[in-house]
């Protein structure tokens, strides 16, 4: 394991992701991800908790995103705030998810030894739309923003490894440093 690697080390990964794939990554690394990416936000998470997940998420990348889709084409698909979904982190990772993609971060502990949190630049939906194609849609009754969309990703990124599987959390580092600056 590298500690505090070069902040701009780039990886090109393909789903499904293995435990080894994510354990290579260190906070600060940049990932470009290809293969299947599934979206889920508030309503899909609530439904997965009450009724179970309609698909297998073993080795999956789960994207906190409510995309703008028109005629089955992705028009804009940046990340939504992951913090709203923090309460589901443990059970989502228990389904075999290896990477959660979003913005703003999640509690780091559930990721230890098994998964990573990847940050996509917030607000960059038009850029993301160039890298994602619709393959299928589940839970369509939840509406456009809340459905579980299945995308085929082509070098989706830059994704910053913000929480790695070794206990390093860039958001937490920033929070601690901000608190110290507030006190000084």
């Amino acid at each position: 394991m590298r500690i505090g690697g070069d902040p701009l080390t780039e990886y090109r990964l393909k789903t499904p992701l293995s435990r080894e794939d994510v354990q290579r990554l260190v906070a600060g690394d940049v990932v470009f991800l290809s293969g299947r990416v599934y979206t889920a936000r508030d309503k899909a998470h609530a439904l997965m908790r009450s009724k179970g997940c309609p698909i297998s998420l073993e080795g999956a990348a789960l994207y906190h995103c409510g995309p703008l889709i028109n005629k089955n084409v992705v028009r804009s698909a940046g990340p939504t705030t992951s913090g709203r979904l923090a309460r589901y982190t443990e059970e989502i990772l228990n389904l075999g998810v290896r990477a959660i993609i979003g913005k703003g971060g999640l509690p780091g502990e559930p990721f230890l030894g098994r998964a990573v949190y990847l940050a996509y630049p917030g607000g960059c939906g038009a850029a993301a739309a160039q890298q994602l194609k619709v393959k299928d849609v589940h839970l369509k009754e939840l509406g456009m923003a809340e459905s579980l969309w299945e995308f085929e990703a082509d070098a989706f990124g830059p994704l910053i490894v913000a929480i790695d599987s070794h206990g390093k959390d860039l958001y937490q580092d920033v929070r601690v440093s901000v608190l110290n600056r507030l006190r000084s």
């Binding site: 902040p7 701009l8 600060g28 940049v30 309503k43 995103c65 409510g66 995309p67 703008l68 028109n70 028009r75 804009s76 698909a77 940046g78 939504t80 705030t81 913090g83 913005k103 703003g104 971060g105 940050a119 630049p121 917030g122 607000g123 960059c124 939906g125 038009a126 850029a127 993301a128 739309a129 160039q130 509406g143 456009m144 923003a145 830059p158 910053i160 913000a162 860039l170 958001y171 580092d173 920033v174 929070r175 440093s177 901000v178 608190l179 600056r181 507030l182």
Partner: protein, 268 residues
């Protein structure tokens, strides 16, 4: 005249959703030039690239196309023979289909989505009366990421409002898609402070010594783009004030993400 308002509403929304004002882009470029954190710098450059993609392909630059908020500046001497609200509502419906926009407006209790971004109280139309007979509509679509972090604090007059603002930004900025713009309402009442804060976003950026000092304090926190660290936490802010009760000190902070989307259409 009514159809002109409908068309102007669609045009203003399309422009606001698929591009950013040049002064906003210039601020992001300047921040990128001065940023010393490599992750932060690459984020700022990617944000600029995203806006270029949106403009070239006429795509909404963010998938959260927001709630439809409009500022209408209307001359006191102007007489209209139609319902301005209903005309703007029609424009929102057409824009939702044509641009297209993501349907975001839901009932607060049933969470039922209207499908066209209108409904009870939506669009939100903020009317400013001005001299003359003019009519100008500014589309100001507002996403939930930044709006969710906004706050009204009813402070004790003995409290320092600037400490409160810096502390609130320190706690909440990471989820609001920084680098931020901040609309700050100082004084008034509970709701007047919030209205001042929204209005401050319409009139960005402020440049008074008080505003520049506050901006400097916020940027010294090191939160950085998307909360991942860096020199650029806020790009600009504005403070608008009103008198408050001698026993009160309301302070409202309306968070705005880096994508300060707004576009105006002059109709008359």
């Amino acid at each position: 005249m009514r159809s002109k308002v409908v068309e102007a509403t669609v045009r203003a929304l399309r422009h606001a959703e698929t591009s950013l004002p040049e002064w906003v882009l210039q601020m992001i470029r300047d921040a990128s030039d001065h940023e010393t954190n490599p992750t932060a710098k690459s984020h700022l450059q990617f944000m600029l690239e995203n806006v270029r993609t949106a403009e070239e392909r006429r795509l909404p630059l963010c998938q959260d196309t927001g709630l439809p908020i409009f500022r209408v500046e209307m001359g006191r001497d102007l007489e209209l023979d139609f319902d301005l609200r209903l005309a703007i509502e029609d424009g929102v419906r057409i824009a939702t289909l044509e641009i297209p926009l993501r349907p975001n407006a839901v009932d607060p209790l049933t969470r039922q989505n209207s499908g066209d971004n209108t409904g009870i109280g939506m669009p939100d139309i903020i009317l400013d009366l001005v001299d003359g007979e003019g009519l100008c509509i500014t589309a100001f679509p507002k996403g939930a990421g930044s709006e969710n972090m906004s706050l009204v604090g009813m402070l004790n007059p003995a409290d320092d409002p600037f400490d409160f603002i810096v502390r609130t930004v320190a706690e909440r900025a990471a989820n609001a898609c920084p680098p931020l713009f901040l609309g700050i309402g100082l004084g008034g009442t509970f709701d007047l402070a919030a209205r001042l804060a929204k209005h401050a976003l319409f009139n960005l950026p402020g440049s008074s010594p008080m505003e520049m000092d506050l901006l400097k304090r916020i940027n010294s926190l090191g939160i950085g783009p998307m909360g991942l660290g860096g020199d650029t936490t806020a790009l600009g802010l504005r403070i608008e004030r009103a008198c408050c009760h001698t026993a009160s000190l309301p302070v409202a902070i309306n968070f705005q993400c880096w994508a300060h989307r707004c576009a105006s259409e002059v109709i008359l």
